[in-house]
Amino acid sequence: MSGHDHGEDGLSRRKVLECMTWAGTGVLWTITGGVPRSLGIIDSAQAATAAAPGMTFLQISDSHVGFDKLANPNALGTLEEAVNKINAMPVKPSFMIHTGDITHLSKAAEFDNADRIISQSKLDVHYVPGEHDFLDEDVKFYRERYGRGTKGAGWYSFDAGGVHFIGLVNVVDLKAGGLGNLGAEQLAWLEDDLRGKSKSTPIVLFAHIPLWTVYPEWGWGTEDGARALDHVKGFGSVTVLNGHIHQVMQKVEGNVTFHTARSTAFPQPAPGAAPSPGPMKVEDAKLRAMLGVASINFKQSEQRLAIIDTPLQG
């Protein structure tokens, strides 16, 4: 693991052990709920960030505009709070990625409302769709708005700050009994997209449903996600950013860091902690500690991108 990310200076023994555990097993999960910094190591990463800004981009996810049930009767309002939070950040991020479920029911008005609020950030936003964004009869609203220049169901790549970003779609053609799905066409495109890239190029893969298997009992994983990860195996730094599960979860496996972001709309239970993954009703006072955004910092000298999860409150 790279030293800077984990802050060689003033690193506590516990943190060292934490890192060692990760390096040793590569499968330890860290689950946090309502904690401003998702992981101990992030604190030192943030300290390093203050010293040398590098490139910072934001991840926002699962805004579910249109959702009005008990778990959060005003999902548009909390999205606006998230955008206000972004606008108040001391360093303006370079751009934003949205990892899907922009809307709850793919209604035109929901897309319009989402756009009206998100555009207040005045940032370029790179979207990938969630399953909630493809619910309209003709499956056209998402594509009309965000599909331009993309392939297939909406996948694409771009370069920023020396990092190669790849937006994948794993919410279409889902098979009975299965998980998220990328499909042969998209995997072939991915392989082609990475061909000839220097292995030292940092890669960011982002998609709605986790590309790693978080909890198959709730469909939290991607059937052919491992095949996508095979294509990035040789790269020195790979970061996988997902949404869908409405909570922060992270694991590190070799050179790959997996991370899921909070929703801006409503929290979902930890795997297996409830009868279903449905919206979780928490005390009103606690809701905003369980919603939020992630900011990701990249510096050329470092292998790992530093991820800071910021809740709306707390």
């Binding site: 009975a176 299965g178 709730w218 469909g219 449905g278 919206p279």
Partner: protein, 107 residues
């Protein structure tokens, strides 16, 4: 579909009266979606029976049997009905949450 249903309704009703039925009408079967689960997960019905699915979750679901039937997106409390006019096994699932599966066995 409507007229078909009506004709089948008569047949199903006649069949139901001859059977020691535990349900009131053979053409009035229900499946509920609760907590991302189809309940009951498996249903045995007679040809001509209409099954109605009701989504009782806070999250939308669909009811899809490849090549057989496909509901629109069902928001909370939305319903979808399908009349089974042919015998056979109908596996179905939610196309948004594919780990949700169910089966209708039509005899």
């Amino acid at each position: 579909m409507k007229t078909l249903n009506r004709r089948d309704f008569g047949v199903a009703l006649a069949a139901a009266m001859l059977l020691p039925a535990t349900t009131a009408h053979a053409d009035d079967m229900e499946v509920h979606i609760d907590n991302f689960v189809f309940q009951p997960a498996e249903l045995r019905i007679k040809v001509g029976t209409t099954v109605t699915w009701t989504n009782r979750d806070d999250i939308p679901h669909t009811v899809v049997s490849a090549g057989k039937f496909r509901s629109k997106t069902l928001d909370t409390d939305d319903k979808f009905s399908f009349t089974f006019t042919n015998a056979g096994d109908y596996k179905y699932f939610c196309s948004l949450h594919p780990h949700m599966t169910g089966m209708i066995k039509v005899e």
